[in-house]
Amino acid sequence: MIVGEQKPIEEILLMIEQYKKIMVVGCGTCVAICYAGGEKEVGVLSSMIRLARNQTDSKIEVVERTVLRQCEEEYVKEIENDLDGIEAVVSIACGAGIQLTAEIYEDIPTYPGLNTTFIGYVKEQGVWAENCGSCGNCVLGFTAGICPVARCSKSIFNGPCGGSQDGVCEIGKDVPCAWQLIYDRLKKQGRLENIEKLSPYKDWTTNRDGGPRKIEREDMKK
């Protein structure tokens, strides 16, 4: 899933300080599952905003809405009829959701209430970890299902580097060395030959380095 983290309330308050009526819009998919941008979080954030502004001379009206997927136009359109008098939108969807909302309602300033952090999964209760670098050319078959782009601090393809010790990365004892994990799992599967020869230069054009990415599928086009 796409994992996000709500911005500090102070930062959000600063972004909306000049407005008297706003809408907080959540998303019911990825960011709801990671307890950062769903319906519940919309409620909590809205209350916090009201409470903070009640303590000043400048009260604020906050309308709460959550759509199933803020990255799909048909769902974002659901809030269209509720936007009367809304001066600004605070979206706590991922970056894609925030941008689609901003694009559909071009006349209303949209602010991010959430930092989109990574693609990952739940490691344990309350812990999410990054797993996928979305580089556009998956090598997981070769690296035993462990992504060197996202999980190695240096994104190297011929690891482990000299900074790997006792299973952890040189950047911190709480960061597992991805290449130690790759080595261990390949060894277990009897596939160490995968990493015994030179892994060639990565073609980064499928990554962000090739410019903004888009997929076009003729079979899906109208």
Partner: protein, 306 residues
């Protein structure tokens, strides 16, 4: 094959090589480099110029290397993958060659997290093993990584680092083999404090026959205090410091003298290990001690500078 550098010549003649290290300054004054070069001249085959080590901004290793060339000491340019993509790397390599630099050491580079610009972006377009391959392509095939021809001479003696103290230990010889296959002609190892583990690693290197394909220079560092050892043991990833060494230093009255003795003892010991073709003395901030260490290890008679 004709040697392209003094270091290569010495190693290929089967002589025991000695290299040292110069840490470029955190400023733009060339005098520091000239001073260190003067201290080391005549004592070592070549001196490494570190590339923004520990991710702290310093004078460029290539610029410092050019100052070494002018000062009559052969540089080993260190290049890390952290700060440049393949375009900038190859461009800098052409520049380094044009300035008379003939040895290059390919490294991953310390992560910027602990440097003085922790908020910077890292690059790692290619990794250290791919850099070795790129160097070989440039030096042997006279081609850039993309396949375009280099329309001039370009030939450098290609080096890599190896860390016998990194994990997983059982993969460290295999990784060295990858480096040799990719193009490494010489190796400078991580600081050896744990000589026993280094011996064990060298056994594996010899068993694989890698000592016949690459020149291995054992890395050594003289320490000034037990505090230094303790710091390394606790905070520096990929290092092994045996407790008895810390104890030896704790008990010493003159810690600096003991540090020199420990280093000299280690050099004398690694010299005897099969497959070790030289030593690399990393006395950063203590460059002036290198001539004395060399003298005490009986490595004083150095071949002439080319």
């Amino acid at each position: 094959m004709e040697a392209v550098s003094n270091l290569q010549k010495v190693l290929e003649e089967g002589k025991f090589a000695v290299t040292a290290e110069i840490g470029p300054p955190k400023h733009a004054n060339a005098e520091v480099i000239k001073k260190h070069a003067a201290v080391l001249k005549g004592h070592v085959e070549a001196a490494n110029l570190t590339d923004n080590q520990t991710a702290i901004v310093r004078m460029s290793s290539i610029a410092a290397g050019a100052i070494c060339v002018q000062s009559g000491i052969e540089p080993v340019i260190q290049m890390v993958c952290r700060d440049r993509n393949r375009i900038a790397m190859q461009s800098d390599l052409l520049g380094a060659y044009a300035l008379g630099c003939r040895n290059l050491l390919c490294l991953s580079g310390d992560h910027q997290k602990f440097g003085n610009h922790p908020t910077s972006k890292n690059v790692f377009d290619i990794d250290s093993i791919q850099l070795l391959h790129m160097m070989k392509t440039m030096s042997v095939e006279k081609k850039f990584q993309c396949g375009d021809e280099i329309k001039s001479d370009f030939n450098m003696f290609i080096g890599a680092a190896a860390n016998p103290f990194g994990d997983p230990f059982e993969f460290r010889v295999a990784r060295l083999k990858k480096k040799v296959d990719a193009g490494a002609q010489f190796i400078q190892t991580q600081c050896i404090f744990d000589v026993e583990r280094f011996k064990k690693w060298m056994d594996g290197v010899v068993a694989e026959g890698l000592h016949k394909r690459v020149h291995i220079l054992a890395g050594l560092t003289p320490m000034k205090s037990d505090k230094g050892f303790k710091y390394i043991k606790k905070y520096v990833a990929g290092m092994s410091v045996p407790d008895e060494l810390i104890k030896r230093m704790e008990q010493a009255e003159d810690k600096k003298e003991e540090g020199i003795k420990i280093c000299v003892d280690a050099i004398n010991e690694v010299k005897k290990i099969k497959g070790v073709h030289g030593v690399h003395i990393m006395a950063i901030w203590w460059e002036s001690i290198v001539p004395r260490i060399i003298q005490e290890t009986g490595l004083k008679e150095r071949p002439d500078y080319i």
